[in-house]
Amino acid sequence: MIEDDFYRTSSQFRLWSFAEDSLHSLRQNTNRLASDRVRGALRRAREARQSANSSAVGTPNPNGNDADSKLGEEKDIECLTAEEEQDLVRYFCEQIVQLGESYKPPLPTIVRATAIQYLRRFYITNSPMTYHPKTIMPCVLFIATKTENSYMSLRQFADGVPGDTTADDIITPEFLVMQSLRFTFDVRHPFRGLEGGIMELNAISRGLGLPTPHLPNQTPDDLRRFISSLPPSQNTPTSSSVSDRLARAYHNTREILKSAAQMTDAYFLYTPSQIWISALLLSDRPLAEFYLDTKLGGSAQLPESHPFTHLRTKLLTTLNNCSTLLDSYKPLASDADAKKAMRRIGKKLYHCQNPEKANLAGQKRVPTATAATAATASASDPATPESEMERLAKKRKLEGGQAEKHDIFGGELVMERTKERQI
């Protein structure tokens, strides 16, 4: 099976495919490390504040209001759990769809899907407590415009991002993101597979089906008869013609690929072809099973001892698992409880954001001498967090807490504004 061999050399298979439990433990590990880091950083921030307090005026206060920070000093800060982190990331994946929609013309589906997978990959080894998704989200979308041949200038791109996000804000984390992506940019999507499968089915329905090499007994006529006598699916009115049925199946499957396949762990756990066939199973099960029969022979056609019978059983288990995963996805917009939970997570994150990572300037790829020195200093000299803290404290003071005013939950802003635009 040469196609499988090709897929196994892809970076998606080599670096970004996981067993369910190893994906889980990677995320737990990331969350644990980030939580430890946040607690340490907040302790240092407190110490820095105390020493600054002795010199009175203009106390820099990263926690917004005084009562809050006093309280924070007493009890240990509560960090996000790995599950909360995942919910948060999913929320920002949905934001990518919205943001992409707001451009004129809207960014192609493939660009948005790639950006979503970048964001999901990024947060396997990074925590939202370290890098807030609202700063990473526009950056992954911009990178995806470059890697998926939809390049526009950064300025033009930045104009489309609502709020006061500047071009600099967008490009600053680029290198950090690329490093977290381990410099692999290619994402293998299930969309093309779906196109091909539907073309095959259309050809079969017109009597132009080709027999699978392993099943030379199939004739185009048999195949055509089979496809026109399939039992109706739940979603298909009995009366519809085969071509209507195919068009509907195509549309519904593609919608699943654009939403559920993006927002769940499907890409990490399954191959592109498993994903699209699982989505087709959800939108028209008899049709999807017929498609598998054309490749592997139906259960009636083959004896139990045939290797395909075993392969088919195994494959169906995988496909059904993937279907279940896809079916479990509920968009946030249609889920009031999840929305409420998101607000709570947003507030929680506000208090457990790592203050030492608040400024990404050190990560920026700038050619000027001063910036380069600063970057080198911050990267190679982790032993001086105090001086870095002072610098950040000063910066916050200069900004006069501006950021906090409309920052209860930065992401919300994007969604609301995007909605306005769509109307």
Binding site: I2, S11, T125, L154, F175
Partner: protein, 400 residues
């Protein structure tokens, strides 16, 4: 994985070949499982630690070349000083404010995915502390095909050409099989490993096949190697654009000078017409609808050239070789050979046999040449005259 569609696929073949091909160089690091995340390096983020691990594997030794786009160093594995690599450090472009440049993104994107004996291997990528991108590439110390073509002291014959072309077409086939268009095939992008293996390099203009009906830019491929459909401004094209270039390399290997070397895009069209015939609706249905098509002067129509012409023009190729070349330089892209068809041609199995790669003609000074080749941007010719050829990529128009 199959190295060619015509040999039986074997899982170990590629790893084995890779060791052969690179000689003293490193074996592929790409196939390693995810490295263990070191938990206790206190102040480094997980991804920084992973990056540090990669960076720590290599030692830079000396500079091999420097261009506007990149600096190339010789390096080796820390654990084995005899395992050479080329380290290509991509420069920060002060003019370009939009982050990592498209050339670099394309090169990294596609080389990460392509693993084949006739495609330059990308072993690793890491960032250095000044946030520069470093590509660890296969060490290819024997220069490129252009160097051999131009050096009149080097003598080579049809068996050598057959060996080089075989390796080139297998590399192109592999790219296309992975839905990647190279879009800059020319002799100085064909580098040579210590064992003589030819490697397709410089993926700065590469892209995946577009979905049907989506437009791509026609401003790609260095002019002398650019097919007529791109010169006519076609925005939808296939892998056979690379086959035209491959055919031009074939012709150049036979003649030892570029076969159709126009000094402007228009001149290139004229020279192609003179050499292969004037494209018309008869020999290429639909050609007159291409955006930059110029109707030919009725009085100067050149007839489409047949087999006799190719045999007369390229006598050394022999009738079978001339037939293969003709199939690669067919004007109508729909009738041009694909890489797969080219590999099935009977020239490969006709006498004389191709030279063993270890016995191919060689030339010293290749390391310097590799340094120069790897610092160039895609689409650039060394020649000043062509400095701006194919550089103005029209990205905005591709969003349609």
């Amino acid at each position: 994985m199959a190295v060619s569609p015509l040999v039986s696929p074997s899982a170990s073949a590629i790893a084995h070949r890779k060791n052969d091909a690179t000689g003293a160089s490193v074996t592929a690091q790409k196939n390693e499982a995810s490295p263990q995340f070191v938990q206790h390096a206190a102040d480094r983020e997980i991804t920084e630690q992973m990056n540090d691990e990669v960076r720590h594997k290599y030692i830079k030794t000396k500079k091999l070349g420097e261009g506007t786009y990149a600096v190339v160093f010789l390096g080796h594995l820390r654990t084995d000083p005899s395992s050479f690599v080329a380290i290509k450090k991509i420069k920060v472009n002060t003019e370009y404010r939009d982050g990592l440049s498209m050339d670099a993104i394309r090169e990294v994107k596609y080389l990460q995915e392509l693993s084949h004996p006739n495609v330059i291997a990308l072993h690793d990528v890491f960032s250095s502390k000044d946030q520069n991108l470093n590509l660890i590439l296969e060490y290819l110390p024997r220069g490129d095909l252009e160097m051999l073509i131009k050096d009149s002291n080097i003598h080579y014959g049809v068996p050598d050409i057959k060996a080089w072309m075989g390796m080139l077409v297998r590399g192109v086939w592999f790219c296309h099989e992975n839905f990647v268009l190279h879009r800059d095939i020319k002799p100085n992008n064909l580098l040579i490993a210590s064992d003589g293996e030819v490697k397709l390099a410089d993926f700065g203009l590469a892209r995946s096949f577009a979905d049907p009906y989506l437009n791509m830019t026609h401003q790609v491929i260095t002019r002398w190697y650019r097919p007529p459909e791109l010169l006519y401004g076609a925005r939808q094209y296939s892998g056979v654009v690379d086959i035209w270039s491959t055919g031009m390399v074939f012709a150049e290997l036979l003649l030892r000078v570029p076969f159709v070397a126009g000094n402007s895009d228009l001149d290139q069209v004229t020279k192609i017409c003179e050499a292969f015939g004037t494209p018309t609706e008869e020999n290429w249905p639909g050609v007159s609808k291409l955006p930059n098509y110029v109707p030919a002067d009725r009085n100067h129509l050149m007839p489409t050239q047949g087999r006799e012409f190719f045999l007369r023009q390229f006598p050394t190729a022999g009738p079978v070789g001339a037939d293969l070349l003709m199939s690669m330089c067919t004007l109508d892209p729909r009738k041009r050979s694909t890489a797969y068809q080219a590999l099935q041609h009977n020239w490969w199995t006709t006498e004389p046999r191709p030279t063993n790669k270890e016995d191919l003609p060689r030339k010293s000074g290749g390391t310097k040449k590799m340094g120069d080749d790897l610092t160039r941007r895609g689409g650039e010719l060394d020649d000043d005259q062509f400095k701006n050829a194919a550089r103005q990529l029209d990205f905005t128009a591709m969003r349609e």
